[in-house]
């Protein structure tokens, strides 16, 4: 006897890289390290997705420098996702980047069956535009408020306070990468352990969910025995 109801489907989970392509990212191999880290983590993301078949992970990316634009605009199922290298030049329009995310997270474009989106911001500097209003616009959307937000700083010149505001969770701090190996560790954590948690989240009381986070696993400690470069 046929099962009642229509077609079944896993729940969509939008994963968005928000990547700094300002001129300073061309120094000391930072952009090369970022491109390599993201490319190399894709098989691990695919493994994580396979372990959580009830979440349909859809990946995109935004780049920001002078202004912001979609680097990969269409949500790509993670098992089909490939990475195109970022190039650098210009300023640090993080506010604009967050507005682009907000546009996509407005409810009419997101299924209300969806899982909380995961936003991973990677930056080496300080915003040169109105970051605060961009963040406010993001957090004013229901899905922006519910999103899991992770921030990775590349080097010591990144504005930690800005990244902390983006995260919006008192117990979760920005991760600071001082070399390519650390960046790889943090990128892998953000795109696997965090993805794992977001893929099968528990129901949360609304007063807690407004902090915008599912329970986040502990970030990796810095055990990499390599000299700091950034």
């Amino acid at each position: 006897m046929k099962r009642p109801g229509g077609e079944l489907s896993s729940r969509p989970l939008h994963f968005i890289w928000i990547t700094d392509c300002s001129g300073s990212m061309s120094v000391k191999g930072k952009i090369e390290a970022l491109n390599t880290a993201i490319r190399n983590v894709i098989p691990h993301m695919q493994d994580t997705a396979r372990e959580n078949p009830n979440a349909k992970v859809l990946v995109r990316a935004i780049k920001f420098s002078d202004g912001a634009s979609w680097h990969i605009a269409e949500p790509i199922p993670v098992d089909e996702f490939t990475w195109a290298d970022l190039s650098t030049g210009g300023l640090t329009s993080l506010g604009r980047a967050l507005r682009l995310v907000a546009e996509q997270l407005n409810t009419s474009q997101m299924s209300d069956r969806g899982l909380p989106p995961v936003l991973v911001l990677v930056s080496d500097g300080q915003p040169t535009d109105d970051f605060k209003s961009g963040l406010n616009e993001l957090l004013a959307t229901p899905w922006g408020k519910k999103s899991v937000r992770i921030a990775i700083a590349i080097g010591e010149d990144a504005d930690i306070d800005v990244l902390q505001q983006f995260i919006g969770h008192p117990e979760l701090k920005p991760l600071v990468a001082h070399n390519a190996e650390q960046l790889v560790h943090f990128i892998k954590w953000a795109s696997t352990a965090v993805l794992q948690s977001a893929s099968a989240p528990s129901s949360q009381m609304i007063k807690d969910s407004n902090t915008g986070n599912v329970p986040i696993p502990k970030p990796p400690t810095d055990n990499v025995d390599v000299d700091d470069v950034w």
Partner: protein, 290 residues
Amino acid sequence: MTAWRILTSSVRGATHERRDKPNQDAVDKHCSTNCVILALADGHGEAKCFRSARGAKIAVEKTVELLRQKFEKSDGSPSVNIIKEYLPREIVRTWRHAIKMHHDEAPFAEDHKCLLLDSEWRIAYGTTLLAAAAIPSGILFLQLGDGDILIVDSDNNVHSFPHDPRLIGNATLSLCDDKADTEFRVDWKDIPTIKLVLLATDGYRNSFRDDQGFQQAALDYALLIEQRGVDAVEQHIEEWLKETSRDGSGDDITVGILWCEDSLLTLENKDKFSDFEQEVAAIQPLSDSH
């Protein structure tokens, strides 16, 4: 009295099976000549809601008991005050009392105590609640938190109670909320033109590609019961729900179905069918004695 019948089924979700976690949903029911009652609850899965399965069980048992006491001997429509103020307040009060009793008898272990402040202990039992009670004069619906209520009318149209727009991304309201009694959504249908009512925890709807597919489930159950009888549905419902969780949301799924055995449904009162209105009753706050 219209001959209402009840069918329920609850399955552990595919994700919980993979992670060896229990089903945190609960369901309870009551059938008598004058009164048919169904209650579902979905215990929260957050780490600090470590007794939510117990909280859900207590919620459905106490709700069914309360509604039975209120409606079993009733022969008229309940007053608006009863529906919108008294019942939510009493459900929360009796639930709080019951979990306090449980907590007093079984204090939290040390590794759980650290997850909550002393003042937050109720969160450990946090759960949603969905209920329907059919009596001769109509049907009462109550909802706190996520989950769904679908109604199939005598024309085989499916009506869905509107969703709370705040409840996305697994966010929900809870019986453990301080103001839970003011957050209930309640509705009463005086003259039902209802063939079937389906209550479900959110794992069910979240498993379908779209709302149309979910609503189709309610219609399919109505037609199956009409054409093949309830035994055929009872025989298969558990396997259907397991399949739904496996290929859909992965969540626990609990479904309760009320259906009308009589064919006395009329069309003349269709216009009285109204959607839920989210009401915030101005009621006396509950004391914090529990």
